[in-house]
């Protein structure tokens, strides 16, 4: 079935996504500058579990009246594949990037999640016996004395099953058109809660396929079927006239959040110079969550 939005074809395909374990960190600081510094460091080098062991991104900025301590803050979504990995990665990241950042405090953004992972209770040992706990509103927090003053961190964080790997591909006539469409899509998705775009600026230029033609040890390699420069030497999936492809990868709390983000992002990406919107999948055999593009865009203009 053919579907077009403002002249851009929406391919009859689907994005294949995976169940991931997710935590939400609320990082506050004395000023937006330091909240941003902590958030950028914490979510840095966290694009894909393939090479970074975790995926993370800034969900949204928080006004003082939205944070537990009344300071400006930022909400971070943090995702891993295996349940046991989440505490390890959180302890590393919070310990090295938020604990170290001036004026910050770190709170749990999923207080009602029944599954809990211990973070503050492990980081407390940095206090070398001078740490103190404090119960506030039935939740335990750890106060770690640091040279600047004191770092406050929640004892544990909620863990939910989320979804990672929602995606769509922007097939465009030129690199400029692809980038402009991707930027428009990122800007459209940016205000949404419950989703993150873990890649640089929200955009991936190096989509991957499973495995490698040359190496048995590589779990992923370039998605040659979508590389315009390989059109003549590989089994290309690209229609005529496409000279650049960019991908948006969307991780979220649940399928509804990802569907909403895909719908809004795809709609923004359908603009002059964009030939087709496609999606990455593995034939439906690897990931349990399938996001069918035409179904998602069914309500679009």
């Amino acid at each position: 079935m053919s579907m077009r939005i403002r002249g851009t074809e929406i391919e009859a395909t689907f994005a294949e996504a995976f169940t991931m374990r997710i935590a939400r960190l609320i990082v506050t600081a004395r000023s937006e500058r330091w909240a941003r510094e902590a958030a950028l460091k914490c979510t840095g080098f966290a694009t894909s579990v393939i090479g970074c062991k975790c995926e993370a991104g800034i969900e949204r900025w928080l006004a003082p009246d939205e944070t537990p301590d009344g300071r400006v803050g930022v909400s971070i979504l943090f995702m891993v594949m295996a349940k046991d990995d989440l505490p390890k990665r959180l302890i590393e990241r919070v310990g090295q990037t938020i604990l170290t950042c001036p004026t910050t405090a770190c709170y749990d953004g999923l207080p009602d999640a029944p599954d809990r992972v211990k973070v503050g209770s492990a980081l407390r040992f940095f206090g070398d016996g001078f740490q103190a706990s404090k119960m506030v509103g039935g939740k335990r927090y750890w106060r770690l004395p640091v040279m600047e003053g004191e770092f406050l961190v929640a004892e544990d964080f909620g863990m939910l099953k989320g979804i990672g790997g929602g995606n769509f591909l922007i097939l465009a006539e030129s690199p400029d058109a692809a980038l402009e469409a991707a930027e428009a899509a990122v800007d459209a998705i940016d205000p949404l809660a419950n989703v993150i775009l873990p890649f640089p600026g929200g955009v991936v230029r190096s989509g991957s396929k499973v495995g490698s033609r040359r190496s048995k040890t590589m779990i992923a390699s370039t998605n040659d079927a979508f590389c315009p420069s390989l059109r003549a030497v590989t089994k290309s999936e690209l229609p005529d006239g496409v000279n650049s492809v960019l991908e948006l990868v969307i991780n979220g709390i649940d399928a509804a959040a990802i569907s909403t983000a895909m719908k809004i992002g795809i709609d923004a990406a359908c603009r002059p110079g964009v030939v087709r919107i496609s999606a990455g999948n593995y034939g439906g055999k690897l990931g349990p969550h399938h996001f069918h593009l035409q179904q998602i865009m069914g309500g679009a203009a």
Partner: protein
């Protein structure tokens, strides 16, 4: 939120022990069963129903109306639910409470959230808010939980506090934090630094802001001026390890 409302029918003629009011099972009590709970007015045994009119449906909230300044032990051993008092309360309010919320819209007497005679620990959990003033030894031997006093506190606040937090928005009387172990006393008004405390620094601990947000959420009348500025930290009591703290608001 459902619960029973008790309204004092006449001024209390003598000191009254209301500690049985929130004994085990109060949250499931009907008006009739709660009315049958014992109270002692002076040395004379009465039942709750002789002092209060009771209305409402059983639930996890109990609301008391009236001048209960001569009623002692209100909220004793409270472990869950919400107890709201509109009026002054007497001594031993929230004594040995371990959970739930006790919110007094008025003044409180001595030994707020303290320990029963012979017991080592006072409050071990929950939240106790007093919008007005409190008497001597508020939070004595507190082990865990939060006590907030909107006005002034009397002498020896948090005496022997093991852990937990006492927030006094007003002034503190003499010998605050005497024999303090690990507890926190946060004072928005004036307090004399006890001899066993040493000044550490002036800073802006996030935990105070967190606590303030919680208190505001519960409807505690926190002075706006205290929601900012810095806090002067003094550690003590030196004779008990100096792991406790006195945080004093500085403008």
């Amino acid at each position: 939120m459902s619960g029973l409302t008790l309204t004092l029918t006449a001024p209390l003629a003598a000191d009254t022990d209301l500690s049985a009011l929130t004994a085990d099972g109060w949250a499931s009590s009907t008006a009739a069963t709660l009315a049958a709970r014992p109270v002692f007015v002076g040395r004379v045994r009465h039942v709750v129903g002789e002092l209060f009119t009771i209305s409402g449906e059983p639930g996890d909230t109990l609301v008391l109306h009236g001048d209960l300044a001569r009623a002692h032990g209100i909220g004793a051993r409270l472990a869950l639910g919400t107890l709201v008092v509109h009026g002054d309360v007497g001594n031993g309010t929230g004594i040995a409470m371990s959970g739930g919320l006790l919110h007094v819209h008025g003044n409180a007497g001595d030994n707020l959230a303290g320990a029963f005679p012979g017991e080592k620990r006072g409050m071990t959990g929950g939240e106790l808010l007093v919008t007005g003033n409190a008497g001597d030894e508020s939070g004595a031997a507190v082990r865990r939980g939060t006590i907030a006093i909107g006005g002034n506190a009397g002498a020896r606040t948090c005496r022997g506090g093991i852990a937990g937090t006492v927030y006094v928005a007003g002034d503190c009387g003499a010998d605050a934090g005497l024999f303090l172990k690990r507890a926190s006393i946060i004072v928005g008004g004036r307090v004399a630094i006890p001899a066993g405390f040493r000044e550490a620094c002036t800073y802006d601990p996030a935990v105070v802001r967190l606590l303030q947000r919680r208190l505001l959420h519960l409807g505690f009348p926190l002075p706006a001026a205290q929601r900012g500025g810095s806090w002067r930290r003094c550690s003590g009591d030196a004779g008990d390890g100096a792991l406790g703290e006195l945080l004093l608001w500085t403008s």
